[in-house]
Amino acid sequence: MEKAVRILLVEDDPSHRLLIRKNLENHGVSNQISEVEDGQEALDYIYGVDMYADRKKYPMPDIVILDIKMPRVDGFGVLEKLKSDPKMKSIPVIMLTTSSRDEEVAKGYKYGANAYVTKPLDFADFAKKLHDLKMFWVLTAEIPHDAD
């Protein structure tokens, strides 16, 4: 049975969110994509704060796709918080970056990002990254045994 892969997309630009969502959909990735607009919302979501406490509506993500430049709390803020929390650090985080040459990449890795992809999200690249992370199950919607 296919289990939906839950993706939390953290991106403030709506057009970018659309692009990414479309990209994933077009390649048959499960459409359990939750979107939030900024870092604070992302943290609220993950920690089940306020309305996000409803896990049925807002399930815990299997993977977080994280943009950097966002209001309130930016990508690094989220990254840091997640990766320093023992309970949350196992959640894979893929950073979105505007330029592969960016220094933000290095910074991201320093904070513990698992992978990065450049915007606009090239699906091939995205798939490769997932593959590198041995997360191909995201695409096949099969959960490995130790996922939870």
């Binding site: 970018h16 077009n26 505007t98 330029s99 606009p120």
Partner: protein
Amino acid sequence: MSNSDSGGEGTTFISRLLKPASLQGKLLVSHLSVASLGFLALALSFLATEALNKTVMHLVSESSPKAIMATTAMSGVQRSMAWLRLSFGGEMFQASRRKAWLEEIWPSIAELGVLAGSDDQPRIRELVAMLKELEIAQWWVEDAVESLGNVPAHVTLMEEIQPIHESMISIIDSTLLDLKTRRINAPVGEILSELKSDMQVSFFGMHDFVNSAEEWTERDVLKGLSNARAAISSLSNSKTDSELGETLEWIKREFSAYDQLMMKTLSERKANDWNVARWTMESEVIPIKSRVTQGLRLLSAKYLAEMKKEAESAAFLSQFATALIFALIVVMVALATVMSQRNAAKITRPVAALSRAAEDMAAGRVATDIPVASEDEIGALTDVFNKMRASLTEKEAALKKRADDLEKANKEMESFIYSVSHDLKVPMITIQGMAKLLEREMGENLSKDSNAYFKYIFDASSNMSDLLDDLLEISRVGRMDVNPDIVDMNELTKRALAEAEAFSKGRGFTFIAQSDMPHVFANRKRVYQVLSNLTGNAIKFMPKDVAEPVLEIGCRPGPEGWWEFFVRDNGAGIDPKYHEKIFTLFTRLHGKSVEGTGMGLAFVRKILENIGGTIRVESAPGVGAAFHFTLPKVQEGEKP
């Protein structure tokens, strides 16, 4: 009114004299002070030689003359005695004797009287008295010698009697002969013969008497004489002719003289003081002379001793003066050296300080003011120097501020570019993404033209994206990011060529990398970007018609402290008139036929310039291009 004013005038004048305000003055004071040491030495040695002089003068003018006078007097006395003895033999020596008194003895004694000290005066007066006695005694003797009574009987006999005797005998003999020949006057002849024999008896008798003074010899003399007298009186009574008579008269006269002399001689010989002169000589003259010579000898000895002492002290003083002068010379030379050193140092030290400060300033170490130590030209120069230093410090501060301002502006610009390029990228991403979506959703339904339009949209937005990325990178080169590292160029080259090979897939490139390239000290990422850019360009711009494209990377020593690397290709080459231009931003020599933003070389140059390196191109159309760039050598002590 302060007290310093009233004393001020005087002290500043003196201090101005001793501490002149000009270098010339200082040098003059220095030279004069050294010279004055020399004068001092001269003065001291002059004093020493003066003392010596005095001693020698005293020696020459008093002690020596005294001794000389005493000895002269003594020698005069001796000489007078000698002449006196000689004058026994004749009158010519008397003059010499008197001369000795007049020219030697009396003048010397007079001089001695003048020169001698007071404690010698009594002795000298004594000497004078004795000398007077001696002179008179000598004069007595001389007189006695001359007087008739002194001629030694023997001498009278020989020199006066004998000639008469002999001539008489000879005349008598010749007369006798004549008478014999003429056979006349036999009685005269007889008398003459008797006379002759009587005279001979008396003569020889006198001879004996003079020698022995025996009584019987005198009897003979007297007998002979009386008989001779009788003969003479008989002769007077004889009858003679005129010729004979003359002869007889002569004989009578001669005999008379003979007789007188004989009688005199007899009495002379018999007298007690038959040699008055000799007796006076022995009993008076010689004793006085002895006393005189004794006294003179004592005086002479005394003065000679004095002279010796003074001579010794003069010798000592002379040695002392020599030693003193020598010591003075050594001391003064040492002092002069020290003094002139100090004086020279006073001048050169400020100069040295000034020159050191100038060196510091030239090297960029603009530290503190130099204290103005002197009031002369050096001081003025130091003053000017300090003003210059202050001005330099000011300018440096101004420059620094300007540099800081520029840096700040630069940083602001960079962050501006950064955020601008970031912000610009966001809508770009939307454009690109949406265009892709559109194509995807509508692509099949679109005409070929419309598809082409989409392609244009993609290309343009992709280009824009690249431009923004490049811009971003360039803006970040100014801020030197991470610390430089020791970078292994062999490894980096290998990676760059691997990437280049992938990039140039299918083109058939030959890649050559020098095998033993050195390490450099730089930011690894930036160096890689340089290599990557240059190799990328080589591949991008390689014309399609080059059958065997070659890309070579190598290295050789550059300027002091740098390695020079090159990336060489055998492509189309670059016209020399573009060799400078290609490094400027957004300059492209190719149209859209080759992709690229035109920022690559500007970017590369900025990276190199940022670390003090250089880049240049060696190329001409048709012979490919070689880009030479310099990277820093690894210095000792730089750790990885």
